[in-house]
Amino acid sequence: MAQITTLKQAIQQLVRDGDTVALEGFTHLIPFAAGHEIIRQQRRNLTLIRMTPDLIYDQLIGAGCASKLVFSWGGNPGVGSLHRLRDAVENDWPTPLAIEEHAHAGMAAAYAAGASHLPFGVLRGYLGSDLPKHNPNVKFIECPFTGERLAALPAIRPDVTVIHAQKADRRGNVLIWGVVGVQKEAVMAAKRNIVTVEEIVDHLDAPPNSVVLPSWVIGAVAHVKGGAFPSYAQGYYARNNAFYKAWDPISRERDTFKAWIDRHIMGTNDFEGFRQSLKEAFTHA
């Protein structure tokens, strides 16, 4: 049964140094509040898994939380590079970052295998690509029935998965809708999991085929209103494209990035404090 708790406590109890952590959410419902709390609690040596590292992992990498990244597309969507990711890969700053690089279809298959507790995921993929030359976790196998050559990847089994969702009820059943990405698979693949939600309600009022993760597969639920900002929560708020664009100059240089992290994340107690701090910076800019 899910424990309803605070985000601070959930991260304290469930995310440990050296863990393999997946904070999923495909452009939608990215768990930024949880990422910030991991930075505040100064977790180190994490293996971060995410199909699209996005700004959330740019922040964690730049803040020195990660020693390895498993990913399949590492840009700031529609804007350009993730500068902190690039600085870590190209210059080992702030610490060296090992990378394991995939294609989306491969990670999707590996998450589905993880959720199914199968040893590997299989797909018709990576054909003609140089990726398998640099990634020993992509191998090719022969179909035992047809002889077709297919790609195989070890199942993704994170120590902890964190997602953000629209709603939970008071027992900790979780409702998620819109672009659902690999969130369901990532939760089911993990040993422990945390879900932050926009609101906690008496009744989910969900149609039977909505994605409801039952309370008993959920570890911890924490109420963090707006916790996916600057990504979006459908039905609650839109993607803040202006912030995604503003991140480019903030993250380009180490000094401006460090100042931003120190002021808005390390200098605040929680996500509400972060939002307030950001608002003040914009009004006084």
Binding site: D130, V179, V180
Partner: protein, 259 residues
């Protein structure tokens, strides 16, 4: 030379949009492909089904999405499915007519690189990586590629093959048993290149108005072959330009909304 009333980028987007036939099921990359796909949808191809890799099927975004999963896509989609489902059931399942990709580098056989410039472990430029591209390039029935034409992009040898086109040319793609037939056109800001039916080498088949074929050759990192019956691309019509500019203006206004 006639007075230019449109930009090279506008010509590229319009020429790309024209390649999309009405009713096609299209797997769309972000950026230039997304602009062209939406222009096609708003002009000659209203029944085109736009699929974005976020799992949004039949998206009809009122403005161009900045990311591959913006709210405008899911709110206007016919269906929204999970990532494992979009890749396994739709793309791998052979239900996509046309994959539409951008690229940082391309070689003469339309293989593309979106991963690194330089050495993989010590890159001079780290690019975003594969995303959905390798499987879009492999499994869509046909593939279109669009990128700006210069020598840094059109290279003799890729630093990294992210997504396979016609591999080493000839029948080499067929030997690897790719499900789809691969790139059928590359649309740039200078012209249109199509693979030779036998060698699969990209050949310049159309130049955009006012562009000398020599200029295209100069901007290509291999000795580019010209088609015997080299065509000139029809310039953008007033309607195509009006719809495209309106789309970009709406998009700019929407994305400026602040934090």
């Amino acid at each position: 030379m006639p007075e230019t009333k449109y930009t090279a980028d506008e010509m590229m987007t319009v020429a790309s949009a024209r390649m999309i036939h009405n009713g096609a099921v299209l797997f769309v990359g972000i950026g230039l492909p997304s602009a062209a796909a939406n222009l096609a949808r708003l002009t000659h191809a209203p029944d085109t089904v736009l699929i974005y890799e976020s799992g949004t099927i039949g998206a009809k975004p009122p403005v161009l999405p900045l990311s591959i999963g913006d709210g405008e896509l899911s709110e206007t989609a016919d269906a929204v499915v999970s990532i494992p489902e979009i890749f396994a059931y739709y793309l791998q399942g052979g239900r996509v007519d046309l994959g539409f990709l951008g690229a940082a580098q391309i070689d003469r056989f339309a293989n593309i690189n979106t991963t690194v410039i330089g050495d993989y472990h010590r890159p001079s430029t780290r690019l975003p990586g594969a995303g959905g591209a390798p499987e879009i390039a492999a499994s869509s029935k046909e593939v279109l590629i669009t990128l700006r034409h210069n020598k840094r992009a059109f290279v003799k040898k890729l630093d990294f093959v992210t997504s396979g086109g016609h591999m080493e040319g000839g029948n080499s793609r067929g030997q690897l048993r790719f499900p789809g037939k691969g790139p059928t056109a590359v649309i740039t800001d200078l012209g249109i290149l199509t693979p030779d039916p036998d060698t699969k080498e990209l050949t310049l088949t159309s130049v955009h108005p006012g562009i000398a074929p020599e200029k295209v050759v100069e901007n290509t990192g291999w000795p580019l072959k010209l088609a015997a019956n080299l065509a000139t691309t029809e310039p953008p019509s007033d309607n195509e330009l009006a719809v495209l500019r309106d789309l970009h203006a709406r998009t700019e206004r929407a994305h400026a909304n602040g934090a």
